[in-house]
């Protein structure tokens, strides 16, 4: 078998990259494989750790199927936004990934992130920052891109929100209205503008970003100057004049900070980005940066082919996984394996009417046999399916139906893990970082010592 490494990481999202770098820092020879581009590119680029504490199912009225039993009206709203993520970890339900690896692992994960990505803010404090979203809500988050920093809701500076009419997903007036509704401590107004001449009406956010990145001439005017001139007449829309201006997150790609700085200088007001849905420039930038750090850490990686099978020894130890290279199954051998293939969106978990599966290694995924127990009618309620995923021990090794370790040299990280409702908790990135660091270390340890038990 020619393709071998000490540690093999399956999955190229935030958890996989974190695990790979973490294992490499322990001295392991690491290879990362990813079937497709990661869903990290579609994410907001914000690094949430823990923003809310949803009510747990201790109360009979709040059982997973409460929606259908009429208890929905009494459903307690999640506690939050939490001032900081760490203290609340112990109050999460048992089996939550944070409960397995502990608040210290979250700190380690964030610390590793800070080393990999130096363009983010938030490392100076344990406290959550409050970042405006393109829905007009305010999201508690632990780390955020520098380009987003100007928009923090804890700041009292008057804010103008600018949108582009052609960008239907972002309505500046709605964002501003919603922020006012939320009770933010500053005055805010929204204006919808037409893109500068020279950019087509239906221009995509990536195209706008690249025009600003390269400062392309649009009808003879450099793009940054053209955009500033467009916004300038509207600064007075906010009482007292706007001290900061928020735009949809398309203000550049590699050079976003320079673009923000130039726009700020021209307008005499801090220009910042409000994170968007896909195509998400902050997500794309973060992904680029993380892959650079993979390279810097000496991790070999490849994207394009799926893992379709697994070779185990008599003790259930995974000797190799089989990668389908366009019709040929090639074994990739490793001592320690990290499974970080994502959740239901990232296709690391699969489901149909019959059941829920982890399709890559076939790890056991606990879930009710009765499909009507998988969800509640209240869309934003305590959805059982949101917590579906692989259950593990404290070393993140997958557990079988009987509660025993299923694959002793496999460690699971990120959204593939069960037990967290990351959308309600605002904990997706933190879970990936905390479990990624632990899974990477554990896999490196298995590789170094040969001991899995």
């Amino acid at each position: 078998m020619a393709i071998t490494s000490d540690v093999l990481v399956i999955g190229g999202g935030l958890a996989g990259v974190t695990a790979a770098v973490s294992a490499a820092r322990e001295g392991a020879d690491v290879r990362l494989i990813s079937h497709k581009h990661s869903t990290m590119q579609q994410a907001s680029g914000l690094i949430d750790a823990l923003g809310y504490l949803p009510p747990t199912g201790d109360d009979a009225e709040l059982t997973p199927t409460a929606g259908r039993t009429g208890a929905m009206d009494q459903r307690a709203t999640p506690e939050g936004p939490l001032p900081e993520p760490f203290a609340a970890v112990d109050r999460l339900p048992e089996g939550h990934p944070y409960r397995l690896v502990g608040a210290e692992a979250l700190r380690s994960g964030l610390a590793l992130f800070d080393e990999m990505v130096d363009s983010y803010h938030g490392a100076h404090t344990d406290r959550n920052a409050l970042v405006p979203t393109f829905g007009g809500s305010v999201k508690p988050t632990a780390r955020y891109p520098a380009s987003v920093a100007g928009g923090l809701a804890s700041d009292g500076a008057p804010m103008l929100v600018v949108g582009f009419r052609s960008l239907a997903a972002f309505d500046a007036r709605q964002v501003a209205g919603q922020l006012r509704e939320t009770g933010v401590p500053f005055s805010v107004a929204g204006r919808e503008l037409t893109l500068p001449a020279g950019l087509a009406d239906d221009m995509t956010p990536t195209r706008v970003a690249h025009a600003l990145d390269r400062d392309e001439r649009l009808d003879g005017t450099p793009a940054r100057a053209a955009l500033a001139a467009l916004i300038e007449p509207h600064l007075d829309a906010v009482k007292g004049g706007a001290a900061r201006v928020g735009l949809p997150a398309c203000l550049g790609d590699e050079r976003v900070e320079a673009v923000c700085e130039e726009l700020s200088d021209r307008l005499g007001a801090r220009v910042f980005e409000i994170p968007m849905g896909p195509p998400s420039l902050p997500g794309l930038r973060l992904s680029d940066r993380l892959y650079e750090s993979l390279d810097e850490a000496g991790v070999r990686y490849e994207t394009g082919n799926p893992v379709v099978g697994v070779e185990t020894d008599a003790d259930g130890r995974v000797d190799a996984v089989l990668v389908d290279r366009k019709g040929t199954e090639i074994p990739y051998g490793a001592d320690g394996i990290v499974l970080a293939t994502g959740g239901l969106v990232g296709k690391g978990l699969d489901s149909d009417r019959e059941g829920v599966r982890e399709p890559v290694l076939g790890c056991h995924v606990p879930h009710p046999a009765e499909r009507y127990e998988w969800y509640v009618d209240d869309v934003f309620g305590d959805q059982p399916y949101a917590r579906f995923g692989v259950a593990t021990d404290e070393r993140l090794r997958p557990l079988d139906a009987a509660g025993g370790v299923q694959f002793p040299n496999v460690h699971v990280a990120g959204a593939t893990l069960g037990g967290a409702d990351v959308a309600r908790e605002k904990s997706a990135s933190g879970v990936s970082l905390a479990t990624g660091v632990v899974a990477g270390r554990q896999a490196a340890k298995v590789a170094a010592t040969g001991v899995v038990g």
Binding site: I3, K36, N305
Partner: protein, 484 residues
């Protein structure tokens, strides 16, 4: 062991179609290229072109494969793929053409949306499908495994067969571009004369004015001796080894233009003890798929599948040095054609460096090697089609281990040429705009020699920077020789 049959032996003047068992030994006939040939006849079907490119006329043996109607279920019905799309736009974000061509709606429209539009009614294919360069980056971008490039190939085949005028300049031009092998076969017979003629300003001017082939690019020079001629002079394989055998799919470009790549492949594989077979072969179909000439591609595929499957029967795995050729045999063939043995061929096909990394101790072989520090600094570009096979990092990982060698990745952008795309007058500026990022990164890299697996990416790299561009197998052959 005797060298395998060589099509050069039996080149004859263009002649009418011959039964397929003999066709392999003939040059493509002029009748294959009649630009005004009736489309239905070309396709061998009368109703729809999106039958996966199967035809009834040119069949090898009708019992060996079945035509598949994509719209009534079966393996080529892609509606499931449409429903897998959750509109995350990852494909559009990854599309190099949509990035620079504001009129191109992007892969999400070309793929799942066009398939939905066509679901019930007799809806025409939108002409924008012809602006897709078939880089296939959308395939690896899609988190839901929507078969985007397959959808594009099907739609483009249907558009060309049913909606594009066979008298249009675009059709004639595209037919010529996609049948590069046909013209290269003729031109390479008198390489110096051909190179002289194609180098003339008037030739390029005429190409632009008459055909819409950009005059900005220099036509690639033909080698004075093709790879196959060299192979024949050499007496074929130098090593016989029934246990380690590979069949080399050299493709058109390393045969006619860069035989040094083919020779390097032979040197490297023989140094690892492999017996190299060079079966008769035609175009892999890559330029034909990109231009919707699916029937042409299928005709060539019949030869390739038959000959390569025969080599596999003799214990060989199939090795390509061009990553577009290997992608075609591995992915587009089984996606678009239904032929006997086609899945076996896909399963036995590899790119050269990929194969050695899997089956040999390449790290060990390179551990003893040393590079010349001044000479050996490379700016490496991973072709889009290599990316789709998971091969984007293999050259970097391999050569970084060589003492004294510097190799830098010039980024994950598309080179912009995409085979025939950048040769089209109306696409030339887009092609160069796409390539700009790669040119910048090449200039910024330490090395002043380019490296890539793809012959047309190499053209673009050279065109944009003036750098000499080498194939990893050439560098590997040299490097291994320093160690021994």
């Amino acid at each position: 062991m005797n060298p395998p049959p060589d099509e050069e032996d039996s080149r004859a003047a263009p002649r009418p179609r011959v039964p397929p068992t003999e066709a392999v030994l003939s040059e493509p006939s002029l009748s294959d290229l009649d630009p005004v040939a009736d489309a239905a006849d070309r396709w061998g079907v009368t109703t729809t072109a999106t039958d996966g490119g199967t035809s009834t006329q040119d069949s090898l043996d009708p019992d060996n494969y079945d035509a598949v109607d994509v719209f009534s279920g079966g393996a080529l019905d892609l509606r499931d793929g449409s429903d897998s799309c959750y509109k995350c736009t990852s494909c559009n974000t990854s599309c190099p053409v949509a990035e620079v061509d504001d009129s191109f709606p992007g892969p999400k429209f070309q793929g799942p949306e066009q398939w939905r539009l066509k679901r019930k009614e007799d809806q025409d294919i939108d002409e924008s499908i012809m602006s897709c360069s078939n880089c296939m980056r959308c395939d690896s971008a899609c988190p839901s495994s929507v078969p985007l490039s397959q959808m594009h190939n099907e739609a483009r085949g249907e558009y060309v067969a049913e909606q594009m005028s066979k008298l249009s300049r675009e059709y004639v031009r595209n037919r010529i571009l996609s049948n590069y092998r046909f013209f290269a076969g003729i031109g390479s017979k008198i390489p110096r004369v051909t190179n002289f003629i194609t180098g003339l300003g008037v030739t390029r001017w005429a190409g632009e004015k008459l055909l819409g082939i950009t005059s900005e690019r220099e036509f690639p020079a033909f080698a004075t001796e093709t790879f196959r001629a060299w192979w024949q002079d050499r007496g074929g394989a130098a090593i016989e080894n029934p246990d380690k055998r590979v069949a080399y799919f050299h493709g058109c470009y390393s045969n006619f233009n860069t035989p040094e790549v083919g020779k390097a492949m032979v040197r490297v594989f023989e140094s690892f003890g492999y017996e190299v077979l060079v079966p008769p072969q035609k175009c892999s179909g890559t330029p034909m798929f990109a231009n919707g000439m699916v029937a042409d591609a299928r005709r060539h595929a019949e030869t390739n599948v038959r000959e390569l499957v025969a080599a596999i029967g003799e214990g060989a795995d199939v090795i390509a040095s061009c990553t577009s050729c290997s992608l075609s045999l591995r992915q587009e063939y089984p996606e678009l054609f239904d032929m006997n043995g086609i899945d076996d061929l896909a399963a036995h096909t590899y790119e050269g460096l990929e194969y050695l990394r899997i089956h040999e101790d390449l790290d060990g072989a390179l551990a003893e090697a040393a590079a010349d520090e001044d000479a050996d600094s490379y700016a490496y570009h991973a072709p889009c089609h290599a990316r789709n096979q998971g091969l984007a990092r293999q050259a970097l990982e391999t050569f970084r281990q060589v003492d004294g060698m510097t190799i830098e990745d010039v980024g994950d952008s598309c080179s912009g040429i995409s085979g025939t795309y950048g040769w089209k007058t109306e696409k030339y500026d887009y092609s160069m705009a796409i390539g700009e990022e790669m040119f910048d990164h090449m200039e910024a890299a330490t090395g002043e020699t380019g490296m890539t697996e793809c012959p047309t990416c190499a053209m673009q790299m050279e065109h944009g920077t003036g750098y000499e561009v080498r194939h990893p197998l050439e560098v590997l052959a040299e490097t291994i020789e320093t160690a021994s």
